[in-house]
Symmetry: C2
DNA sequence: ATGCTTTCGTGAAAGCATTCAAGGCACTGT
DNA sequence: ACAGTGCCTTGAATGCTTTCACGAAAGCAT
C-alpha cells in the first residue's frame, strides 16, 4: 500500500500539501490539487488510520459495549448505532460483556488503547462505570449510556420512558377490569427494571388495588426466568388475572408456563410484554407489548456522541424516548368482568 | 495517559527494555523486569495500539462483515466470533452490508486502513469479493468466508452442509408419505440457497417424484418473502402437502400464510424450516427445522483466521459443519397417507 | 516599479512503540 | 589473569500522518 510520501513524490508536491488536499485543511490551488488527486487515484492510496490516529490522538472508531448480542433486543440497538456511525465515517467495535463487570472493565481498558472517538455503552449489571469512563473522557472520547444508566451517572444518555410505559400498560389492564395484577420484573439493580416496576406500582396504587407480596417476581431478562416465575404466579391464590412481564423474553417464558398449566391466554390470564420485539407477533396469541425502538436508541446514542465531539462542553443531554403500547392478542378483560359490571349496574339501579 | 518513555524513565531503564518486558521478546532479568512492571502498574500505562499497529503493520483488530445483524441468524455468528476473538486478545469491528455490494466494498476499503489481522466476511449478494480481499491478503490479513462463499472462492471458509441438511429434511417428509413437496428457497445467487435447493431436488428425484415448476419459489430470506410465496403455493392444484422453507424466517412467513388460508399446520400442510433459530420454538406449532449452529460458524471462522495468522502458508481449509434435523410440531404425515398405505396393503394382499 | 498584503506551499517536528545492530557485563575455562 | 561466550540492555532508526512556523509567490495599490 502506498503511503503519503509516495503520493507527494508522484504529484511533485510536499507531504503537507497532500495532507491538506486530503483533509481540506487549507485551500490548495486547482493544478496542484488535481495532481495530488490523480496520484491518489492511480495508486489507490488510502491514508493509514493508525498513523492518523496516532497523530491526532483520536481515531474514527466508536466502541460499543453491550451485554449480549444474542438477546434479541440488542441487535436493533447495534444496528441503529452502526448506521449512524457509518454514515458519519465511523467504525463500530462491538463488545459483549455478558453483564459481567470484570469483562466490561477488560473491554474498556483494551478499547481505550485505540483512542476511540466515542464509547456507547449499555452498562452491565452492578456497573460502576463512572470511574472507568473517566479515562475515556480524559482521552477526549464522548461517552454515552444507553438503555440503562449506572449508579450516579451524570453524562449523556439515551433511555426510554420505562416508568410511563409500564404505567400505561398497567392502567390499560386495570381499565379492562383486572383487579389481580402481578408483575415479573427484570433484575432490580438495573435502572430500567426499577423504573418499570415503579410505573407498575404507581398504576396499581392509583387504582387503589392491593399488591400481595408474591405478586411481584424478580428474575433475569430471559425466557427461562419468565417461565419459572410465571409458574409460581400460576399457583397463587387468588391467581392473578393479568401479568405484566417486564420484557418480551420474560413474557414469552410466561406464555409457555401458562400454556403448560392448561390455562388460556388471554381468557384466563392476560399478559403484556415489554420491548415489542419482532418475535412477539409470531406467538399464539400474539403478545401485547410496550414497544420501544431499539434502533432509535442506538442511533440516538451515536448522534449524541457525535454532537458531543463537535461541542465538548455543551450541556449534558439525557434523552428519554417514548414507548407505545402495541395491543395485540394476549390481553382480554378478566373472566369475571362481565359479572362484576352487571352487578354494579344492578346496584346502581337499586340505588336509583 | 502515560507513554513508554515515561515508564522507562520511572523504572530507570531504556525504551527497549520496557518493550521487551511488554512483549516477552527477550528475557529481562527479574530486578529490572519488576521495576518496569511496577511502573506500569503505578501509572496504569497501556501501550498505544495505534503506535504498535503502525510499527508492526498490523493491529489486533478483526473486521467482521455481515449482511444485517437484525436478521436473527447473524447475532449468533457474531457472538461466536467475538468470544474467540476476545479470548485471544482481538477486537471485533462489525459492519452491516445489507447485502449491498457497494456498501460491502466501502466497508472493506475503510477497514483496510486499520490493518486488521483478519477479515471475517459473510459475502453480500452478488459478491465479487475475490478482488477486494486480495488487498487484505497482501496486507497480511487472514480472510475467512462464512456461511456462503462468493463465486470462485479459493480461500479459507466455514459453511454448513446445506445440501445434506436439505436432503435429510426432504427425505424425512417423503418418508412420512408426502408426495407433493414444494420448496421456498432463498435468493438463488447465494451458494447456500443453491445448495439447499440441490439437496431438496436430490431427495425428490431419488424418490422418483415429480416437481411441478410452480412448486419451486425463490424469495428473500425473510418473513415477508416466505409469506408471499406460501400464499402462491397455497393456490396450486394440487396443493403441496409439505413445504421446505429454506430458512426459518421464510418458514415463519409461510406459517402465517397457512394460518391465514385457514389451513392447519401440520395436518393440512407440513412445514420444515432451516436454521433452527431460538424463535422457531415459540410458534404454534413449533417449527421443525434443520438446525445449524451460528455460534459455531462464527467461532470456527475466527479460529481459522487465527490459525492462518500463525501459519500463513498452511493449506486452505474449507470447514463444513454438520446440520441436525430438529423435529418439533410442524410436520405430520399427509392426510391421505393412511388411505394410500391401506390401499397398497390391499393391492399387496390381492397379489398374494 | 516598489512595497505591502494575502494566499499557498514547504519541510521539519511530533506522536508512540518496535526492532536491530552494537555494546556491556558477568562468568567460564584455561 | 585473559580471552571468549552468552545473555542483557541500549539508543537510534522506522512507520505514516498532521500541524506549525516560515518562506515564497502572486496580486494590488500607489
Amino acid at each position: 500500500m502506498a503511503n503519503m510520501k509516495q503520493i507527494a513524490k508522484l504529484a511533485g508536491v510536499s507531504l503537507g500539501t497532500v495532507s491538506h488536499v486530503l483533509n481540506n485543511t487549507v485551500k490548495v490551488r486547482e493544478p496542484l490539487r488535481n495532481r495530488v488527486l490523480e496520484a491518489i487515484r492511480q495508486t489507490g492510496y488510502q491514508p493509514s488510520q493508525l498513523a492518523r490516529g496516532l497523530r491526532k490522538d483520536k481515531t474514527d472508531i466508536l466502541a460499543m459495549i453491550i451485554p449480549d448480542i444474542l438477546n434479541p433486543f440488542f441487535p436493533g440497538v447495534v444496528r441503529g448505532a452502526e448506521d449512524i456511525a457509518f454514515a458519519n465515517g465511523y467504525r463500530l467495535v462491538l463488545c459483549n460483556t455478558d453483564n459481567d463487570h470484570d469483562k466490561e472493565v477488560a473491554h474498556l481498558r483494551a478499547l481505550l488503547a485505540y483512542l476511540p472517538s466515542g464509547l456507547i455503552v449499555i452498562p452491565s449489571d452492578f456497573s460502576e462505570l463512572v470511574g472507568e469512563t473517566d479515562s475515556f473522557r480524559k482521552a477526549g472520547s464522548a461517552v454515552v449510556c444507553v438503555d440503562r444508566t449506572p449508579r450516579n451517572w451524570d453524562g449523556d444518555s439515551v433511555t426510554i420512558n420505562n416508568d410511563g410505559g409500564a404505567f400505561h400498560a398497567t392502567s390499560y389492564l386495570i381499565g379492562l377490569g383486572h383487579r389481580h395484577l402481578a408483575a415479573i420484573t427484570g433484575p432490580l439493580h438495573l435502572t430500567n427494571s426499577q423504573d418499570r416496576l415503579k410505573g407498575f406500582k404507581r398504576a396499581v396504587r392509583k387504582a387503589g388495588l392491593q399488591l400481595p407480596p408474591g405478586y411481584l417476581q424478580e428474575t433475569t431478562f430471559d425466557r427461562a426466568g419468565g417461565y419459572a416465575k410465571a409458574k409460581i404466579l400460576m399457583r397463587m391464590v387468588p391467581r392473578p388475572t393479568a401479568i405484566l412481564a417486564c420484557n418480551d423474553l420474560i413474557g414469552l417464558g410466561a406464555l409457555m408456563a401458562i400454556r403448560e398449566a392448561k390455562l388460556r391466554c388471554p381468557e384466563d390470564i392476560s399478559l403484556i410484554g415489554f420491548d415489542g420485539l419482532d418475535l412477539a407477533d409470531i406467538t399464539t396469541p400474539q403478545l401485547t407489548s410496550v414497544y420501544q425502538s431499539p434502533y432509535q436508541l442506538g442511533a440516538t446514542a451515536v448522534q449524541l456522541a457525535l454532537d458531543r465531539l463537535a461541542k465538548v462542553d455543551s450541556p449534558v443531554r439525557q434523552v428519554v424516548l417514548n414507548t407505545e403500547l402495541r395491543i395485540r392478542e394476549s390481553v382480554a378483560p378478566p373472566l369475571g368482568a362481565e359479572r362484576i359490571r352487571s352487578r354494579k349496574a344492578r346496584e346502581a339501579a337499586a340505588l336509583a
